[in-house]
C-alpha cells in the first residue's frame, strides 16, 4: 500500500514542500530511504521504528521504501521524522490515508514517541500556506510561533499516538495562542543618560536610529563607544507586526527563537575574529550570517578595523541593498539583511589617548587603510568621541525615553511618507525615492552643488547626504529639507578618505 505525506524543508529563510512517500510491500522486512537524504535523515529509520513501537502502534513487518521528493534537493536535519512516521502508519493502514492530503506534517521524534521542536516553524507555516495546505501538524512547542501565520490551521501535538488519534478524528488539540507573548517593556534596561558627555556621538546615534543609517564611532578606548552602541536598542522603536514576523522567521530558522513573536529588534555583536561566512551567511547548507540575524535591528561591529578584510568587503552588498545572495554549489539563496550597522574603532593602532599616543604616521595610515574606501562610503555617519568629561558638572543628558520618543515620531513620518513603496526608513530609499521625498530647498540645493575640492559631491554622494538630511528634518518635524539639515548631514559624512588635510 502506498501513502504520501507533505512536509516542508527549510531553504534559506523560506521553506519548500517535500512529499514523503512510503510504499509497504510483502517481502523481507526492511526500511530504506531514497531521495538524497542527509545523515540525520538516514538515521530517522531508527527513531521512526522505536517511536511507533513505543507509542503502542504497530511497525509493519514489510518491505518499506520511502522516497523524499523532489529527489534532487538535498534533505538534512531531523524534521522529516514525523512525516516518515505518519506515512508509515498510513501505508500500514493504521491512520486513514485519504485524510492526509490537506495536512502538512513537520517534527522530530524521540525514541519514546514524544515530539521534539524543529527550527523555522514560522517559515514552515508560511510555506505550507503558500502550498495550499489547510492544516499543519507541528510539535506543541512550535505551535504558537506557527500560529502567527493566518489562514492555516496549526495543530500542536505532544506525542505520536495523539497524531494517530487526531487523524482518526478521535481527538483535537487546543488552538494555540498566537501573537506577542509578552508586552515589550517601555523601560529600557540601559539608559543613554548614563553616558556622560559625547553629545556629538549621541546626536549621531539619534539620527542613525531615526533613519536606519549606518554609523561609525571613532575614538580612543574607554570613552563609551561600546556603551553607546549597547544603548541603541533603548531608543529604537519596537518592531511593527510585519517587522516582528520577519525577525522571528529569521531567528527561528537559525534556531534562536523561543517560539514567540519577537518583541525587540535584534542586537548582534559578533567578535572580530568571525569568518566571512559567519558574518554574511554560508556553509554547505547555507545558514544565515550575523548580518541576517541582525535583520530589522542592529549589527554592532566593535573594533571594526580588526575584522578580516574579506569579511568587511563582503558586507558591501548587504549594506547597500539590504539583502545578501549566498551561492553554494548549485544553489543560490537570498537572505534578508536590512540591518543598521554600528561600527566602532580607535583612532590609531596603539589605542591610547592622543597625548600618550606612540604611533607614527606610517602606523596610523596603515590602520586607516584597513577600512576600505568603498566600505566607508556606505557609512553615512562618522562621528568622533573625545575624552570622557570628569564626573559632575554638565547638564543632565537626555534620557533614552526622550530620545526614543523623537526617534519614533521621525520613524512614523517616514512610514507614512513611504507607505506602499516597500521601504520603511529613509536609509532604504532608492535614488528615485530620495529625489521624490527629500528635495532640499533652494539654499540646501546650493550647498550641495557648490562643494569645493574634496567636498564636491558626486550624484551618489548627494543622494546619501540627502537621505541623512531627510532624517534630520524628520527629527525636527520639518516637511522640507533645509540648508542646515544638509550641512549637518555633510558634517557627519566622511568625504574621500586619504585626500585629507593631514595626508
Amino acid at each position: 500500500m502506498l501513502a504520501s505525506v507533505a512536509t516542508f524543508a527549510i531553504e534559506g529563510v523560506d521553506s519548500v514542500e517535500v512529499a514523503v512517500e512510503v510504499d509497504a510491500r510483502r517481502g523481507l522486512p526492511a526500511f530504506t530511504i531514497v531521495g538524497l537524504p542527509g545523515a540525520a535523515v538516514r538515521e530517522a529509520r531508527e527513531r521512526v521504528r522505536a517511536a511507533i513501537l513505543n507509542s503502542g502502534l504497530d511497525f509493519p513487518l514489510k518491505r518499506l521504501s520511502a522516497n523524499l521528493a523532489p529527489a534532487d534537493l538535498r534533505k538534512s536535519g531531523p524534521s522529516f521524522d514525523l512525516a516518515l512516521a505518519v506515512a508509515v502508519l498510513a501505508a500500514s493502514g493504521q491512520v486513514p490515508a485519504c485524510e492526509l492530503s490537506s495536512y502538512a506534517v513537520c517534527g522530530e521524534l524521540s525514541l519514546s514517541g514524544a515530539l521534539r521542536p524543529v527550527r523555522g516553524a514560522l517559515a514552515l507555516a508560511l510555506g505550507a500556506r503558500r502550498a495550499g495546505r489547510r492544516r499543519l501538524i507541528l510539535p506543541a512547542e512550535n505551535a504558537s510561533e506557527a500560529a502567527l501565520v493566518e489562514g492555516i490551521d496549526v495543530l500542536g501535538v505532544e506525542r505520536l499516538e495523539l497524531i494517530a488519534a487526531l487523524l482518526r478524528g478521535e481527538w483535537r488539540p487546543e488552538t494555540p495562542r498566537a501573537g506577542p507573548a509578552v508586552e515589550p517593556s517601555h523601560e529600557p534596561a540601559l539608559d543613554l543618560s548614563e553616558v556622560r558627555g559625547q553629545t556629538d556621538a549621541k546626536r549621531a546615534l539619534e539620527i542613525a536610529a531615526a533613519g536606519g543609517h549606518h554609523l561609525l564611532m571613532v575614538g580612543p578606548p574607554g570613552v563609551g563607544k561600546t556603551m553607546l552602541a549597547r544603548r541603541v536598542a533603548g531608543i529604537l522603536p519596537p518592531p511593527s507586526f510585519e517587522e516582528a514576523l520577519e525577525i522571528t522567521r529569521v531567528h527561528s530558522v537559525a534556531g534562536l527563537s523561543h517560539g514567540e513573536l519577537a518583541s525587540e529588534r535584534p542586537f548582534r555583536s559578533p567578535h572580530h575574529t568571525i569568518s566571512t561566512s559567519g558574518l554574511v551567511g554560508g556553509g554547505s547548507t547555507p545558514r544565515p550570517g550575523e548580518i541576517t540575524l541582525a535583520h530589522r535591528g542592529v549589527l554592532f561591529l566593535d573594533e571594526l578595523a580588526e575584522f578580516s578584510r574579506g569579511a568587511l568587503e563582503a558586507l558591501r552588498q548587504p549594506l547597500e541593498v539590504g539583502r545578501i545572495e549566498v551561492t553554494r554549489g548549485q544553489r543560490s539563496l537570498s537572505f534578508p539583511a536590512q540591518a543598521m550597522l554600528i561600527g566602532a574603532c580607535n583612532t590609531c593602532p596603539c589605542a591610547r589617548p592622543p597625548d600618550d599616543c606612540t604611533c607614527n604616521d606610517v602606523d596610523r595610515a596603515r590602520y586607516a587603510r584597513r577600512l576600505s574606501a568603498p566600505l566607508l562610503d556606505r557609512i553615512d555617519l562618522v562621528c568622533e568621541l573625545g575624552r570622557a568629561p570628569a564626573p559632575g558638572g554638565r547638564a543632565i543628558a537626555d534620557a533614552s525615553l526622550d530620545v526614543a520618543r523623537r526617534v519614533s515620531a521621525a520613524r512614523e513620518m517616514q512610514r507614512a511618507r513611504l507607505e506602499g513603496t516597500g521601504s520603511l526608513s529613509n536609509a532604504e530609499m532608492s535614488a528615485r525615492l530620495t529625489q521624490l521625498h527629500a528635495p532640499p530647498d533652494a539654499h540646501g540645493r546650493r550647498r550641495l552643488d557648490h562643494g569645493r575640492g574634496d567636498a564636491a559631491l558626486t550624484g551618489r554622494g548627494q543622494d546619501r547626504a540627502l537621505r541623512v538630511a531627510r532624517t534630520i528634518a524628520d527629527l525636527e518635524g520639518h516637511e522640507r529639507v533645509e540648508a542646515a539639515h544638509v550641512e549637518e548631514a555633510i558634517g557627519f559624512r566622511l568625504a574621500s578618505i586619504g585626500q585629507t588635510a593631514a595626508a
Binding site: C345, N360, D361, V362, V382, L385, G386, V486
Partner: protein, 371 residues
C-alpha cells in the same frame, strides 16, 4: 631668467662626471656612509680615486662629454644649472669644504636668488615621526614661511614632508633638496608633494637629472641642506637618524643647530634630545627659530597680514569654529569652546568642508585645509 646657461662648461662636466661615477662611489663607500672629501676632488683625481678598473671608461666619458647636448637636455626638461662661478649660485654653499660643482634646480628659479639673499631655515627629522613631531614640523614650516623665511627640507617621509606642507600652507617658500636628480620624484609616496613644490617652490640637487638615489647621496644632500640655511632644526630623531648628519654638518661649518624637545621616555627623540643636552638651541616654536636667525627681538612681523587667509564675510559662528579647529579641538571640545550645541557644530563643519576650508583628518577629527 636663470637657466642651463648659468654653469660654466668645466663645472657642468664635473657634475655630470659625478653623476656618471655615482654607482662607483656607492661601491667604494659601502662601509663609510659620508663621501668625505671625494666631492671636492678635481676630475682627474676623482677618477683616480673611485673609478679603479673603470678609469679608461670614465676618461672617455669626460672626453666625449658634449656640453651643448647636456644644456639642450636641461632646457628641454626645464631644469636650471648654476655653478659656483656665477652670481645665482647660493654663496652660503661656499662655506662647505666640498661645495657642489653645480646646483640643478627645477621650479620657481628666481627662488635661487632668495636662497642666497634671504633668511633660510632647514627643518628635518624622522621619517617615522610621531603625530606630535609632524604637528610641530608643519607648524614650524607654516610659521617660518609666514615670516618670510625660506624653509628647506629633504622631501623625505614624515617630518620633512610635514615641514614642506607647512611652508606650502603659508605661501611658496618651500625648497626641497633631493638626494637624486631633480627630475626623480623620490620617495614615491611624496610624489604629489614633489609636484606641488616643483610648481610653486623649488627643487634642487647637485646630481644631474636621472641619477637615482644611492646610499651616499643622502648624507651628501644633507650637507647642502645644512649649508643653505642659517639654522638647522631637528624636530625629532632617534640616535643614528640621517637628520643628525645634517646637524653635524651644520655645526661643522658654524651654522646654528636647534632641536625640538621630545619626551625623554620615548625612544623616538633620543637623538634630538641629545643635541639639546650638547647645547643645541631649544626650539619651542617659530619664535625660537626666528630669535636664533635674527637675534632676540630682531624679527619684525610682516605687515602684509596673516599668512593663513580666511575668506571675507565669514559668519562669526564659522569663525569661532575655525578658530577651535586650528587650536586642534575635537568636535565635542569645539562645542565646549564655542558654546554651540552639537548639531550646530556639525552643521558648521559641513559648511566649512563645503567651502574647502576644513577636511577630515584621518577617520574622525577635522583639520584646517590649506591649498
Amino acid at each position: 631668467m636663470i637657466d642651463a646657461e648659468h654653469a660654466c662648461p668645466a663645472c657642468l662636466r664635473r657634475a655630470h662626471l659625478i653623476g656618471h661615477l655615482a654607482p662607483r662611489i656607492a661601491d667604494l663607500l659601502r662601509r663609510r656612509s659620508r663621501p668625505v672629501g671625494l666631492l671636492a676632488l678635481g676630475e682627474e683625481e676623482l677618477i683616480a680615486a673611485v673609478a679603479g678598473t673603470n678609469a679608461p671608461a670614465a676618461r672617455s666619458f669626460v672626453e666625449r662629454f658634449r656640453e651643448d647636448h647636456a644644456r639642450q637636455r636641461l632646457r628641454e626638461a626645464e631644469i636650471a644649472a648654476v655653478c659656483r662661478h656665477r652670481g645665482a649660485y647660493p654663496r652660503s654653499l661656499l662655506d662647505l669644504s666640498d661645495p657642489p660643482a653645480v646646483l640643478y634646480a627645477r621650479g620657481q628659479r628666481t627662488r635661487l636668488r632668495t636662497l642666497a639673499d634671504e633668511p633660510v631655515a632647514t627643518v628635518v627629522g624622522a621619517r617615522r615621526g610621531s603625530p606630535y613631531a609632524l604637528d610641530v614640523a608643519r607648524g614650524l614650516g607654516r610659521g617660518l614661511a609666514a615670516a618670510s623665511v625660506t624653509v628647506v627640507s629633504g622631501l623625505a617621509l614624515g617630518v620633512d614632508a610635514a615641514a614642506h606642507r607647512g611652508a606650502l600652507d603659508a605661501g611658496d617658500r618651500a625648497v626641497a633638496v633631493l638626494a637624486c636628480g631633480v627630475d626623480v620624484p623620490y620617495p614615491r609616496a611624496n610624489r604629489p608633494l614633489y609636484r606641488q613644490i616643483a610648481q610653486r617652490g623649488l627643487v634642487v640637487s647637485e646630481l644631474p637629472p636621472g641619477v637615482p638615489p644611492l646610499r651616499w647621496t643622502f648624507p651628501a644632500r644633507n650637507r647642502i641642506m645644512a649649508a643653505l640655511a642659517g639654522i638647522s632644526v631637528v624636530v625629532e630623531a632617534q640616535e643614528g637618524s640621517g637628520s643628525l648628519i645634517t646637524s653635524t654638518y651644520a655645526s661643522d661649518i658654524g651654522r646654528q643647530v636647534g632641536a625640538v624637545p621630545g619626551r625623554v621616555t620615548s625612544s623616538m627623540a633620543t637623538g634630538s634630545n641629545r643635541l639639546l643636552r650638547e647645547g643645541a638651541a631649544v626650539i619651542r616654536g617659530v619664535d625660537d627659530v626666528l630669535d636664533e636667525l635674527f637675534g632676540v627681538g630682531g624679527w619684525t612681523p610682516n605687515e602684509d597680514g596673516p599668512a593663513i587667509e580666511r575668506p571675507d564675510g565669514l559668519e562669526p559662528e564659522l569663525h569661532s569654529v575655525l578658530d577651535a579647529i586650528e587650536a586642534g579641538h575635537g568636535t565635542d571640545a569645539i562645542a565646549d569652546a564655542t558654546g554651540m550645541p552639537a548639531q550646530a557644530v556639525r552643521a558648521s563643519l559641513g559648511r566649512l568642508e563645503l567651502m574647502g576650508l576644513v577636511a577630515r583628518s584621518g577617520l574622525a577629527s577635522y583639520a584646517r585645509r590649506f591649498d
